[in-house]
Amino acid sequence: MVKQIAFSLALLITLGVFTFTVLRLISYFRFTKTGFPIRDLPKRFMVMLDVAIGQTKIFRHPVIGFFHALVFWGFCVIIFGSIEMVIDGLSGLERSLKVLGGFYNVIMASGDVFALVVAGSIVIFMIRRLFLHISRFEGIEMKKKSHQDANIALSMILLLMLSLMGMNAAYVELQTAGNEPVYGVYPVGNLLAPIFSGLSLSGMHVAHEFFWWSHILLIFIFANILPYSKHFHVFLSVPNTFLTRLEPLGKLTNMDDITREVKLMLDPNAAFEAPAADAPVSRFGVKDVEDVTWKNYFDSLTCTECGRCSAVCPANTTGKMLSPRKIFMDLRARMKEKGPGLVRKGMEYTDNKSLLRDYISEEELWACTTCNACAQECPVNINHPTLIVDMRRYLVMEESSAPSGLKTMFANIENNGAPWQYSPEDRLLWAENLEMKVS
């Protein structure tokens, strides 16, 4: 009974803190703009199965991707055990899901083996992070804090897996020693069980309780660290792939505000047909967090800072300032900075700073070739180029700011209908004196 009360209290605190954090993050979505509508649910489901569950984009780096996939699939199995622990903790039962019979054996055996596999993979990840200098883990946006964040998350997962293995081993030894039935199958637990053979029955019981509590409390703590960490992707990657923009990567989103204006310019009569624009004229493009779409912000919360985007970026790999990863880390950091003020004082709130310039420089934005290598690579389907172009839209249409070459190109298109200074009269010169051989 004491255990049940203690557990319920721990669970209540966990859920309370988690709800508080998540509600605050959700409240920031109020300040973002509507993006695309969520249609085509079957197609979205398939993208989610493919990219998140199937880890297909992770496998674009086949070797290390394989280890990540093992960790992900391991989590998917181990979570059954965690759910059981919550039920046990609340009800005072032991191994309550054993009623599932054969399926329970399979799940428990998989979870037990995966605990070892995940732990091994995490050790590989830690060696990569700490001793091998992987270039995509570096970059101007990767501060000391970013590295600490990664190391804390990896350490916590390692402890989670060790406590799980300890718990299963102690359980096997305790049940066997006490001539009680072992529910579930524990291949790794069986191997490790002799570690506890020197203990008395009550000693084994204490060991089991120790690992049980360590494991569940680590889960509770980890769950509440995640929303403050790049490891939030543990929760958000699956929904983010479900919410993927389904259009071809080459497509940019139309600005309907501009369409209204252009149609008015081309045909003044349209003014009477178009509904009056009563809504306050919003800013064109993106200058600060309140100009981004909900999806941009969701992307920023999902970003795991893996750097696969920047590692394939033609600008970044040739030493330019642009790093697609930084764009989304900046968006997340800026919302964290400005969000509370917006909550308190509403949309009028300003701190005389903005995402543009205080975080992301014009030089970064103009270096993008919109080649979409970043969006193609992102394992959680973040779309970087659309946000970069949205920020260019602000620069060009609100500030008339652009590199001189581009201003010349704009003028040429306006005057001649071509990006170069050639007359439309010359458009057919290529077709003169055109001959071909006929046999």
Binding site: R60, M255, L266, C368, R393, P403, T408, G417, P424, V438
Partner: protein
């Protein structure tokens, strides 16, 4: 050998005669003005003529799709261009469009529908592949023998619109030695010109993007690097020039097909195709538009 003069059909003239062609051939600004890329336009026109395709160009009525303006953030200018082009195309009751430039292809196919321009848009590489597959264009792998050919994926054809198979299928029918670049298909590395980079100086860094890609091309030991985009062509041709490796030819897929089909009257060699490998004979002079030594437009 007989030659035939090609009169390129213009939409307005056909319309005046009450004719409606099946395809609009969207030439694009590079195809109309860039001296190097005009050769690609001419090559593709020869193939269209050879196949007896019912087509027409807009000619003087064609205007920039607005792609570079849009990707540089000038949505206003893009939409003005797009709405004008759509008005003209809808006026001619255009249903199907063939493009040679992947940037025009992408914007006409994916972005014009948002503004009321709904057309079936076909990229010329897909078009050519279709006519090769149905036997109208006959290619066999002996035509270029074992000349090593590689292919650089234009971003707006590849990642932008998932066209990976067709160019490879064509090139594998031209040579027995087709090799991939290290970064290919969806992993392909940009030439450095997209997103309106073509029209501005590059930001400072430790290397130019087109040099990085050119070095990769050179590592493949290919004799020919095939492209399917005017900007990629400018960048790689410049890169090869920078590296003093002009013996490696940068040719468009349409040009390769015209060469092996022997449609060009200039190709007077009795032996087929050998003009491809004789540098002087091909007469590809540096592009007029970007000849300022920095791969950038000289205005």
């Amino acid at each position: 050998m007989e030659t035939k003069k090609i009169e390129v059909p213009v939409m307005a003239e056909l319309f005046a005669r009450g004719e409606t062609p099946e395809f609009l051939f969207w030439v694009g600004c590079a195809g109309a003005y860039d001296d190097r890329y005009k050769k690609v336009t001419r090559a593709f026109t020869k193939i269209l003529t050879h196949l007896n395709i019912s087509y027409a160009v807009l000619g003087k009525e064609e205007s920039c799709t607005g792609d570079p303006a849009r990707r540089a953030g000038n949505e206003m200018l893009y939409q003005m261009q797009a709405l004008q082009n759509i008005t003209i195309m809808n006026g001619y009751n255009v249903k199907k469009i063939i493009t040679i430039c992947p940037h025009c292809f992408n914007i006409l196919k994916n972005e014009y529908p948002d503004l009321g321009g709904n057309y079936e848009v076909i990229n010329y590489v897909q078009f050519l592949d279709q006519y090769i597959e149905n036997g109208s264009i006959k290619l066999d792998a002996t035509m270029l023998g074992n000349t090593r050919i590689t292919y650089h994926d234009p971003c707006y054809l590849g990642r932008g619109n998932d066209v990976y198979a067709e160019p490879r299928s064509i090139l594998k029918k031209l040579t027995t030695d087709f090799v991939e670049l290290e970064r290919n298909k969806s992993f392909s590395y940009c030439c450095g010109a997209g997103g309106a980079q073509m029209f501005k100086e590059a930001e400072s860094g430790k290397k130019e993007v087109f040099i990085e890609r050119t070095e990769e091309v050179l590592r493949s030991d290919a004799k020919i690097v095939a492209t399917a985009c005017p900007f990629c062509m400018t960048m790689l041709t410049d890169g090869l020039k920078y590296k003093n490796k002009e013996e490696v030819r940068n040719l468009d897929i349409a040009e390769l097909i015209v060469q092996v089909m022997d449609l060009s009257p200039q190709n007077l060699n009795s032996q087929r195709n050998c003009s491809l490998f004789v540098k002087k004979n091909t007469g590809f002079e540096p592009s007029n538009l970007y000849a300022n030594g920095h791969s950038r437009m000289a205005v």
